[in-house]
């Protein structure tokens, strides 16, 4: 039996989630006395994954643009070549695009949003976040092949040295049924999915002209920026920043909400964040019941002071 981890890369580097997926796989491999193998696309520094317990890495080299179906087919083929039985992946948009396809192709059961190490290994039972973070469900995977999709920032990253063998695999030229053209947003911008800190603004900020408060705070913290639903519906901010039950999910280490009331639909989407801070002038705002730290005050006064304080803190 072999456990295979899908290690996502970005511009040739392993994403942070790849290290987390490896750490999870290593622990599971130790407990089940299995081997841990990895598959990556176009990794420039494959040896970097050695620290996280991967024993063999198949580095697929292709200049084919990302296309879920072709990538899924390559992953399935490589998984079978490695004689894998359990596939572990992260929760990025790309991985969630690819793995439903893999699941059908391998006839493998698949659990997404897994937040913990399995509560039972045989049978395999996984704790998943459900009801958009309003509850948990324990799901048993019953097929021979299985896929676990773990949520970012849920398990942690642990080092565990192993001997690593790297094999390049150059597939024959791929054919796509679709043309894909990627439109990158601002290169500097941190994505909500990968961010450790997210700063979010709500209707309390009164208008798009005041978003420098959110942006400046995010900049000094190295954070991604987000917003509540009405803010994106009114066009103050792009839809890609809308977080919550009907927007993007957030599972960061720190979530700072400014002028957001904390409606149940907003909280549902961001609840998986570890530490929540609210800045709101209404002490009755429901967000105070969900937050770890709160400041009751006018955002237009509090946030500039916070930015100043952080500047001093960072230069200490």
């Amino acid at each position: 039996m072999a456990i295979v981890v899908y290690l996502e890369t970005e511009n040739g580097n392993f994403k942070k989630s790849a290290l987390e997926v490896s750490s999870y796989g290593r622990k599971l491999a130790d407990e089940t006395k299995s081997n841990l193998y990895g598959i990556a696309f176009n990794s420039d520094e494959p040896l970097k994954i050695q620290k996280y317990g991967v024993e063999k890495l198949i580095n697929i080299k292709t200049d084919h643009v990302f296309d879920a179906k072709s990538y899924a087919d390559l992953l399935c083929k490589t998984f079978k070549d490695l004689e894998g039985t359990l596939f572990i992946t992260g929760s990025s948009a790309d991985s969630r695009f690819i793995f439903p396809i893999v699941s059908i192709s391998l006839d493998a059961s698949y659990a997404t949003n897994v937040i913990e190490f399995p509560s039972s290994i045989s049978p395999l039972i996984l704790k998943r976040s459900a009801f958009t973070n309003k509850g948990f469900v324990f799901t048993e995977l019953k097929t021979n092949y299985k896929i676990i999709g773990i949520l970012n920032n849920s398990f942690g990253i642990f080092e565990s040295e192993s001997k690593l063998e790297v094999k390049d695999y150059i597939p024959e030229s791929l054919e796509s049924n679709v043309q894909v053209e990627s439109i990158k947003e601002d290169e500097e911008k941190i994505s909500i999915a990968d961010a450790e800190i997210v700063v979010s603004g709500g209707r309390g900020l009164k208008g798009p002209e005041n978003w420098n408060l959110v942006e400046d705070l995010a900049k000094i913290l190295g954070a991604a920026t987000a917003c509540s639903k009405p803010v994106s519906d009114m066009g103050w901010r792009p839809h890609s920043e809308h977080v919550g039950q009907t927007g993007k999910p957030v599972a960061s280490n720190l979530y700072i909400a400014i002028g957001v009331s904390g409606a149940i639909q907003h909280l549902a989407g961001i609840n998986a964040s570890k530490c929540k801070v609210v800045i709101n002038n209404d002490p009755e705002a429901p967000f105070f019941k969900a937050a770890d730290y709160g400041v009751i005050g006018d955002a237009f006064e509090v946030v500039p002071k916070l930015i100043d304080g952080l500047k001093k803190f960072k230069s200490r």
Binding site: L221, D292, E301
Partner: protein, 248 residues
Amino acid sequence: MKVLVCISSVPDTTSKINFIKNETQFDKSGVQYIINPNDEFGLTRAIWLKEKESCEVHAICVGGIDTDPILRKALAIGADQAFRVDINPMDANQVAREISDFIKDKEYNLIIAGRESIDYNGGMVPGMIATLINANYVSNCVSLDVDQSNFKATRETDGGKEEISGILPLVIGGQKGLVEESDLIIPNMRGIMMSRKKPLTIIEAKFQKLQTKTVKYEKLPPKGEVKLVNPENINDLIDLLHNEAKVI
């Protein structure tokens, strides 16, 4: 053109989530059910297609008799026909197989599902259907244009967007952006009256074999009290985030 919109019936977004029978069952009492929000954007997008070209829109739900009101609402919004596969679905694979089996021989050009349902958040059904029926697939779809044989869609990625184009048939996992919130069609009296005359066909379920099993549920752990920081001493917040929460 024939369009199929896959609709999931989910607890209203304001629902309190509770479990019963020793946390082995979701507590449906007092819960209102709605069309899954991601599916609702797709449904309105489908109705718009009808206005542009001759196009028939069907809605399908895999669910028990309690999901009929959701399908009636889809008909009131403008779908021409509805279908219900009569089984209480237990996992994504089962839903995808039932819908794919239904699609077989029916020559749908476009299948619109939601990015994910807001109850179990699996996000797998559209990709599974696409694979089962061998159609093109676009997840996190925020805009869509089609003509008789081609599509051009925009997919939201973690760090930006992608334009994907190709030939139909296509399956999408849709979300807000397909249409705006303010564009969502709200059924009017005429729509509601007409929906009663439109066909809602019950289909027998075929796939009983499950790949997964729900073992139990768990509620969120109780939340501790919020720690308030005086806005005059904002450095206290920085201190707490650094030393206590260790997040900066």
